[in-house]
Point group: C2
């Protein structure tokens, strides 16, 4: 939620000469994106977003992220479309950082999503999974099952300061997920972070998906499990059956789940809850002194994990 | 440079129903304004800025600030124009904060201004001084000569940690300014903070003035002295005669200075340098632990003050 790198009008105007998007009228650093610096640009050709990729993004991943947005928007998905420079390149350099310009999507994210919003997200997620087919570059999900134990190792010693018994709960869940994680479900490009603030709506219609910087190749149904966790619980972390049912039905209307995928859903939901519990826990335990940003509460995902641990059948998520 | 208050799409959409500026399409918190939270809004009617006034702004000053922008834009000055609600009000409340919406000005601030930019600023400043005439509300300048000694008292004990002898230099200058400060020069509405980042240019033409949150009633020529300090020194704090000459000539083409104003210019420039030296020094000595923002270097204004102390005639600023 910050602008990490200072960009001058003089440098940006010079940079835009490489593009065919008109003349710069104004630009504002926007408080969006935890990892990168983002600027909203007005030019004589319209509105754009300039992203400067900061230290936490591996430059080797940029061809995947930018290529994916190009691939998906070419397939008709509403997502930021990287703008090509006159020489055909989409990745440049500005203020010493890798830099890309993408089209601007109007729309707002919804703080308190309703059933209809969850359905729209289910449909868009399935469309993303289909549209990702054929994308040539791959990217391993560093935050899938193999990445969780190293996170646990970083949090273990102090986990119980956050909640009594938390270390043991996580250790047992980790063992369970590692032992049972499915190896043969359909995989493809997943968004992997499709939370509320990455989905824009206009007049209750989904207008676009943003922030593909966790996207990777992984089990497609795991992405749905992430969305069930992110969208289908109430404010006090109770599962909302109506939302789950709407999301899954809308997903299946575009991309029906196989029997194996359906049966794996409770486990995938547990794994997804564990993943966000772990990353939030690590962030919670490592807040830099004087930090302005409050880290997200890890215990939200402990509640969600406990719900999934008691699920006996995928029908409890609303699967018809 | 931050967004201090969180605004939801739901709350903002409801708030906009009080206005006649179309439907909300998107909004982004922007990294602008040290004191307040600012959001860039796209609506079906255009682009606007929403400002939420945070703790550091005295609500009693808001009718002055907002009324002044209305007054100046009605007089043809290019500045943000407060948008009236359907009931005629310009000041509302959102997220528990006083809130106003103003028109958006395209343009960018210039990092390395040239002589022509300084001339444009001189002209715009004089236009502002004329346009401010007749504005009914007044506001005392808390950062004029009477406000400096309290700042010095806060910084005195640690001033020499910033530069050897700084406390004595400031004390002597303070005595000089207090003893000689002019009491009978023309006064009116001044901007009082017309630094580079508050002046927008498009294709080297000045497109607007922003940030009226230091505006107040004070000596008009003091505002020009602030601009000479802010715009007419080189990167290594040498006075740039060509810029000074251009700025003063352009100012006088719109509002000629009286003989008294001309003669007072060196003293007003000293006072203005002292004012920014003092506020920067206090900020420098009071950086909160872990702060992200680097305070501005007070010693820049010590250099400028030393220049002004050696000025023997206003012609040294480029006065014809």
């Amino acid at each position: 939620m910050a602008v990490y790198t200072d960009v001058t009008a003089e440098d940006l105007s010079a940079h835009l000469a490489r593009y065919d998007i008109g003349e710069l009228l104004s630009f504002k650093g926007i408080a969006e994106g935890v990892e990168n610096s983002n600027f909203l640009l007005h030019t004589t050709a319209g509105t754009f977003i300039l992203t400067l990729y900061e230290k936490r993004v591996d430059p080797a991943d940029l061809p995947f992220f930018i290529g994916l947005m190009e691939h998906l928007s070419r397939r008709g998905l509403n997502c930021p479309q990287p703008v090509k420079m006159r020489d055909g390149e989409t990745l440049g350099e500005l203020a010493g950082r890798p830099a890309a310009i993408v089209t601007f999507l109007e729309g707002m994210w919804i703080r308190r999503p309703q059933v209809a919003h969850c359905a729209a997200v289910g449909r868009a997620l399935a469309e993303l999974h289909l549209a990702g087919d054929g994308f040539a570059i791959t990217r391993v999900n560093a935050l899938s099952v193999k990445g969780w134990r190293p996170l646990y190792d970083r949090a273990r010693d102090r986990a119980d300061t956050v909640a009594p018994g938390l270390a043991a709960t996580i250790a047992a869940e980790l063992d369970h997920c590692e032992a049972n994680w499915p190896g043969s479900l359909p995989t493809g490009v997943i968004h992997a972070d499709l939370f509320n603030d990455n989905v824009f709506f206009l007049h209750d219609s989904l207008s676009g998906l943003i922030d593909f910087y966790f996207a990777c190749n992984d089990i497609l149904a795991y992405d749905l499990a992430i969305c069930l966790n992110a969208w289908c619980f109430s404010a006090d972390f109770e599962f909302d059956f109506a939302k789950g049912m709407a999301m899954i039905a809308a997903y299946q209307a575009v991309r029906p789940l196989s029997a194996d995928e359906r049966n794996a859903l409770p486990l995938l939901a547990r794994g997804s809850a564990l993943r966000f519990l772990l990353t939030r826990l690590v962030d919670w335990l490592n807040v830099p002194p004087g930090a302005v940003v409050t880290p997200k509460d890890p215990l939200e995902y402990l509640s969600k994990l406990r719900f999934h641990q008691h699920v006996k059948s995928p029908t409890e998520y609303g699967l018809a």
